[in-house]
Every structure is written in structure tokens, then in C-alpha cells.
Subunit: 335 residues, 2 copies
DNA sequence: TTGTAGGCGTTATCAA
DNA sequence: TTGATAACGCCTACAA
């Protein structure tokens, strides 16, 4: 796409490039008539300032990068849409990159975004990521960055989190109250803060009801991970009474295999999801799940990021914890 | 993030910037030892060439932009993952932008991507888009661009399509064979090629079976659009015998409202989706749908784009039509 | 094999 | 109010 440059416009109008530049950046002195003339002919010629060159000299792009571990499920897309709402309003465009739960690809994505000089980054870590060196360094170098949902401990950065402890506690308690005792908690990834909090909530709920703390087991977040877990358990003939899954897709995977093997949910075994997805109410049986405020999470993260961009250099990292809701449906209700 | 520039490296090593540059672009003569020394110290210093500056001079970025109308449903994410597979392999990074089914935002997205000088664009149009001027112009200016899934007629560009005619035909025929006669076809957007093809298939299936061609009605692609449509029909007491929806989410919306109003699917009314989503087999009742090769669509589009980038200027637009499959489940089977 | 210098398309700082 | 010119960080003839 051959560019028409500022020079072409200047030549045509027999004025200097700086005058043209001024016409496009209305903070400088310029006669109104000349500005209008320039703007008019420039548009006619199809000229638009080249943002690459602009970025090179201004060191800002009005682009924000978002990195997510996956977007097959509606969770992350919803968060992104929330973020877009507030960012678009402030004149920012949103570039999305997806890391396929691979820490290597995630790193590449972040670097690509930095390379393209986005003004800030919203990121949710992949389940694989454990080395934080790159991020620590980026933070030290004052790159505006907000972590959401999937974060790790001890990162001196702003974060938007969900109250995983509380809702894992309530979800577990609900299962206990329904009479299920031998409960397995599936976790998506060991290192994430979210996992630690959920596990703690899961165990504390057991303690409160004088039960020996149940077991947590690493599975993954995907539908496939749920399938694998439960297949193994069926094979081993060691089914628990209930399962608190790492995510809705994971829960649905579990239910699928259970049904395929002739088990009844919730009578033989109860299943609960996490992070309510669009699917939950439509699957059979309808899936109980913990609902998270996805759009809000995106909006909040975006606001934190904008603030950080504004106060570059002198900002205090803050963590915001969002509340949720328990949606009880058939999959966890003893008949 | 303060950049370490090529100058810093040159200064430190007491050599010229061009030598450093050469070390990073191994097509020039340079002594192996000096190259290695430079590369080593450069990495130590944390230097990486600034792609912005590089782009400015090289006019290419090894970035590909993808614009989709939505990504709440798994369809587009799957296509993107397919495209990423082949693009990553060739050293390209993939930047995704989402237009929320808004043609205005879509245009902004494309412009942002062009501004950031992506080497090419994969795009699926929003349901709102009808003005093609911008795209026609971009094509004329040789911007590598491949349209997939949601395209319009008469665009002199490469396209990857699904065989909507054929599978709308088979889907309709299946409904007819099951004994449903009064069938309504929900369409997502008037202007898209896909709509025209599906409508034709829908009508031809009626003709083949000597039925008066059924009605197509604009609804939209979303779950919400399905809900609205069927709510109105219930209110008007004008329910058809079967519905061929514009998408799975749309079909699920229809089923949800029907169930909520005490209707039985498929006995009172049959429902079929389109573009099989992960949800189809898990909803109740399991949803019949037309399965499309999403990953393949992404891969194919990416390959066409790469070819177009390589042969910039002298390429012949081609359309590739992909095949699909009918997944018959309970929602469309008369008991 | 290496260095010098001009240019990619802008904006910013001076003078005029 | 406008114009010349030096940056921004890099690549690449050309000269050395």
C-alpha cells in the first residue's frame, strides 16, 4: 500500500512539511485558513499520517495489547470486551494475542506487543508460565502492565483478581450441605494465585464442617483435561462423590464421560464448574457454577492500566478483588 | 520501557552502528568473530532491534492482522488458531482485533492494523458491513488481504468459504425427511454471500420435494437474536414446525425460550443449528448442526495470504470452498 | 571487513 | 505564522 507522505502534500501546496504537520496536530500556531486548506487537500490526496513514524518519535501509539492464554471459551473474550469498552472511549485501540496456554508463545506475544510499542499491556498468564523474570524486568522498566485473573504471587504490579477463596469455600460448602463428602477439587495450574486461593477455600470449608480436608488434583482448565481425569478415575474404579472442577469446560468434560459410562449426574456423582460460562445453563444436566464478573474484570483492569499510563513512573501497584455469585443448578443437587 | 539502541551497543564495543546492524542481519559480510562478539554483548546489554524503526525502513513487519466480528463463540477463535499454526511456522505473529459486529469499529480495526503496517490481513466481515469502498480501495492498492467465512459478492480478493449452499440444502432436506414441513430459515445478515447461498440451498431443497419454498427471516447470529425471534413468534402464536437457525448460539437461544414456554424440542418443534459449536452435543436436547472445518478454514486462509504476500502485485484472486458435515442429533429427530 | 552518511515519515526546536 | 533542520532507531549504498 503505497503511502502518500507529508512531503507530497507539502510539495503540492508549496509549503513546508512542518506546516502540514502542524495542521494535523492542532496544538501549534497556524492560520485557520491554511490549516483548513491543508486538511482539505490532504484528505483529497488520501494522505493519512503514518503512525509508525509518529510512534518512532512520540514513543506512544494509543494501542493497548491484551494477552490471554486461550479464547475458545467465552470467559476471556468477555473480559476483553469489557476492557475494550473503556479503552475505546479513551481513544485506544485493542490488539489481542493468544498464547495457547504456552509460556513460550506468551513471551513472544508480549515481546511483539512491546516491539510494536503498545502503550500498555493487559495480561492473563498461561497455565504453563512459572518464570517471571521477563515480567519483573518489564515492570522495573516501567512498562504499564496490569495482570488479571491468572496471576502469580509476589509480582509488584497492579492486579485484578476474583475472590477465589471465598467462592471456592461456598461452592465446597454447598456440596457438603448436599451430603456429598468425598469431594475432589480439580486445579488448572499449580503456580497461579487463583489455585492457591481456591484450594485454601476448599480445605477450609471441609474444616468448618469437621471433615478431613479433601484432595486437590492438577488436571488443567480445558474440557479435555476434565475428560482425562475422570476417565482415569473410572478405570481405577475410584470415583469420588463430587467434583469441584477448575472451570466450566472442565466440568462439562467430566459430565460427558460420566454420562457416556452410564453414571448419573448428580445422583451418582455431583459436578460443579467454576467461572460460569454461557454453556452452564444449557448443558444437561444444567451445571452449577461460580459466576464471575467478566466484563467488570476487563473494565477494572483497563481503568487501572489507563491510570498507570497517566502516572507513568510514580504509581502504586494495587490489587482489586472482585466478587462473584454461586449459581446452583441440577448438577450438584441431590434429589 | 527505555530502549537500548544500536548506538549504545556500538559505543560500548567501539565500533560503528553499521557493524552492529550487520551482525543482526546476516546477509552482509562480517567477520564471524566480530558478529559473535556483537551478538553476545548485545544480548547481555538487553538490546533488541526496534521493529518500529525497522518497519519504517523495511516496510514489512512480519505481523499479520486478523479481524473478526465476534469471538464469544468458539467458531472464530478456532479459525484463528488454525491460521496461527501456519503463520507462526513462517515467523509471523498474529494480532487479533474484534469488531463487535459493528462496521464502524471494523473499519477502525483494519485501519489500525494497516497503520501498524501488518504485512497482511485476514478478515471476516461484521453482519452490519455493506459499504465495500474501503476494502475495494485497499485491494486496489495491493494490500494483501484474504476474506474468510463472512464475505460479500463481487470483491476481487481471495476468499475462503464454506459450502453453505450444499449444507443448507442437506440440512433442510433432513428436516423435510423427518416430516417437518413449515420450516423457517433464520439468517444472520442480508448482504453476506453466505446468506444468499444458504437461502438458495434452503429453497432448492423445498423445490426438490415439491414444497413451496419456505421463508427466510433476518434474525442475527447471536443467542439473543434467536431468543427475540422465537419470543415474537410465540406471542403471535405463529410457530413453525421447524427452524433452521443461522448459528448454534442462535439455535440454542431458540430452544431456551421454547423450553421456558413449555414446548418440547423436537416433538413440538425441531431446531437445527449451523456451524457446529462445542456446545452442540452438550445442550439439552443435543443440537443437530452443520459442522464446518474451522481450523482448516484458518489454515487455508493463512496459506492464501502468505502466497499473496510473496507474489505481491501479481496474484490472481482465488476462492476456496470448504466442505462440511451434517451432525444429526435429537433436536431434529421426530420420535 | 568495516565505517560514513543518507534516508524511511514524522514531530519538535529553533530561527526567520 | 511559517520554514529549515535535527532528531527518533534502524538499514544500506558507497567509500575506505
Amino acid at each position: 500500500m503505497k503511502q502518500i507522505t507529508i512531503k507530497d502534500v507539502a510539495k503540492k501546496l508549496k509549503c513546508s512539511v512542518s506546516t502540514v504537520s502542524r495542521a494535523f496536530n492542532d496544538k501549534y500556531d497556524i492560520r485557520t485558513e491554511t490549516r483548513e486548506l491543508i486538511l482539505k487537500t490532504a484528505t483529497e490526496m488520501g494522505y493519512r499520517p503514518n503512525p509508525i513514524a509518529r510512534k518512532l518519535i512520540q514513543q506512544r501509539s494509543f494501542n493497548i495489547g491484551v494477552v490471554v492464554p486461550e479464547f475458545i471459551n467465552s470467559f476471556f473474550p468477555e473480559v476483553i470486551i469489557g476492557a475494550q469498552e473503556v479503552l475505546h472511549e479513551q481513544g485506544y485501540q485493542v490488539l489481542i494475542m493468544q498464547s495457547n496456554e504456552s509460556s513460550e508463545l506468551e513471551l513472544k506475544n508480549v515481546q511483539t506487543l512491546l516491539n510494536n510499542m503498545v502503550d500498555g499491556i493487559l495480561i492473563s498468564l498461561s497455565s504453563e508460565t512459572d518464570n517471571m523474570d521477563f515480567y519483573l524486568n518489564a515492570i522495573k522498566e516501567k512498562m504499564p502492565m496490569v495482570f488479571f485473573n491468572r496471576v502469580v504471587e509476589g509480582l509488584p504490579a497492579s492486579k485484578v483478581l476474583f475472590d477465589d477463596y471465598k467462592w471456592a469455600f461456598f461452592a465446597t460448602e454447598h456440596l457438603i450441605m448436599q451430603g456429598y463428602k468425598d469431594i475432589v477439587h480439580l486445579i488448572g495450574s499449580k503456580d497461579l494465585t487463583l489455585t492457591k486461593n481456591r484450594t485454601k477455600g476448599f480445605e477450609d470449608a471441609h474444616r468448618k464442617h469437621k471433615l478431613s480436608p479433601g484432595k486437590s488434583e492438577v488436571a488443567g482448565f480445558s474440557m479435555n483435561s476434565g475428560e482425562c481425569f475422570i476417565e482415569k478415575r473410572i478405570e481405577e474404579n475410584s470415583l469420588p462423590q463430587a467434583i469441584l472442577a477448575s472451570s466450566d469446560p472442565c466440568a462439562i468434560g467430566v459430565m460427558k464421560i460420566l454420562k457416556a459410562n452410564g453414571f448419573n449426574v448428580p445422583n451418582d456423582i455431583a459436578v460443579m464448574g467454576f467461572s460460569e460460562s454461557k454453556l452452564a445453563e444449557h448443558v444437561a444436566p444444567p451445571l452449577s457454577s461460580v459466576e464471575q464478573p467478566t466484563y467488570d474484570m476487563g473494565r477494572t483492569a483497563a481503568l487501572l492500566l489507563l491510570e498507570q499510563i497517566k502516572n507513568k513512573g510514580l504509581f502504586v501497584p494495587q490489587s482489586i478483588v472482585l466478587n462473584g455469585r454461586l449459581n446452583i443448578r441440577e448438577s450438584s443437587m441431590k434429589l
